[in-house]
Symmetry: C2
Subunit: 219 residues, 2 copies
DNA sequence: GTCTATAACTTGATAGAC
DNA sequence: GTCTATCAAGTTATAGAC
């Protein structure tokens, strides 16, 4: 049965999301999926390939939708460039909306947020499957942010990435139960995130000096 | 020799920062520190206690300085409440400045950013050692942000935490060498971060509705 | 395609000599 | 305080029967 494959993918997605990649053993996955250990090596070659399969299953469709939404934004804005808020929403919606549409995909966002910090894993996977999307959106963002140099935009996008990842994480002030089972990335969180980020991107440049917020000790 | 203790702490700090907690074995730590495996269990009880010791060594002084800087801010602002930027700088400076002052502490910030996402580890440690600082600063932040409810502030602080953690991570567009050895949290990054976050905190409430950035497909 | 069995190795932790 | 030696458990991965 190729249904076994799906069961493994589902279990792996959930466990990777909850515990991270290195902390999740293949044995815990097969136990959760109710399949055999050898099956995981039959369908996927290795643990790392399994992670890649998990990511691709969700990221593939999501990225296709991102490109579609970007085109829609450009159309809607006619000759003008789309607003920053619209671009952010188009980029983030496929991730956030998955929660409400299909209960299955809930865990995936947490996986991304979780694996995001595990560094050495995603670079290989990300560059292979997110390249086109990132290039298209970067171009659009730069047009919507004419006051930023490409370098400054890269830095702010870097900061924004962290905020997005954090938005996909269950807030620590929710108790364990809620953290584990409730979908946290709702429409409200998405809108909050868009407002937060767009304000950050819109800040004028040259806060290198003169931002008179010195408060330091003598030392 | 109690110098062994320090060697272990230094090595653990560096390796935890680079690879994360679960991915770092005690054996790799003793190899890097040039000490014996048993020594690590003699000086610290367990791997988890070692992590806690690593965190406390840096976070203790940093948190004391945070409280000091907060008082200085309040003094400088006289009857009025300190500005958001000054509060952010007071809170973030002890972390960021450590890079420039002592080369030793460079790794620690990355450790925090790295462990930050490993979830179940920091809650126990953080609540034990950051409680007072968080309470004092939350109070000050809420006064500086009268347009936000406590709940809304908590959400935005959640997002901001992610951005801070990301600022402490080496940007992926720097090549491997630079990622590994160059201090990335410079004064410039700190100022960028302060500008980015303060703008996000200042956004008016009620972007729950009416933020007319709909760009969704029919679906 | 799925299973059992097992190889080959790494992990955190400890006992006990010195 | 520091060492060697070792334990018990857990890890990924594979070979081979069915």
């Amino acid at each position: 049965m190729t249904e076994t494959r799906e069961r493994v993918l589902d279990a792996a997605e959930r466990l990777f999301a909850e515990r991270g990649y290195t902390a999740t053993s293949l044995r815990s996955i097969v136990a959760s999926a109710g399949v055999n250990l050898a099956a995981i090596h039959y369908h996927f070659h290795s643990k790392e390939a399994l992670l890649e399969a998990v990511v691709i299953r969700r990221a593939g469709p999501a990225n296709r939708e991102r490109l579609l939404l970007l085109e829609k934004c450009k159309m809607a804005a006619r000759s003008k460039t789309p607003t920053l808020e619209k671009l952010l929403e188009a980029f983030l919606t496929p991730t956030f909306r998955a929660v409400q549409d299909s209960g299955e995909a809930v865990q995936f966002m947490r996986l991304v947020a979780r694996i995001h910090a595990e560094g050495y894993l995603l670079p290989a996977i990300a560059k292979a499957h997110f390249g086109e999307v990132m290039a298209s959106y970067t171009e659009a963002f730069l047009k919507a942010l004419p006051h930023l140099t490409a370098d400054e935009f890269r830095w702010r996008a870097h900061l924004a990435t962290g905020a997005v990842a954090q938005a996909l994480r269950p807030p620590e002030w929710l108790d364990g139960e809620a953290q584990a089972y409730k979908p946290i990335a709702t429409e409200a969180v998405l809108q909050r995130l868009i407002g937060f980020l767009s304000a950050g991107f819109r800040v004028p440049m040259k806060n290198t000096k003169s931002r008179g917020a010195k408060c330091s000790v003598a030392s």
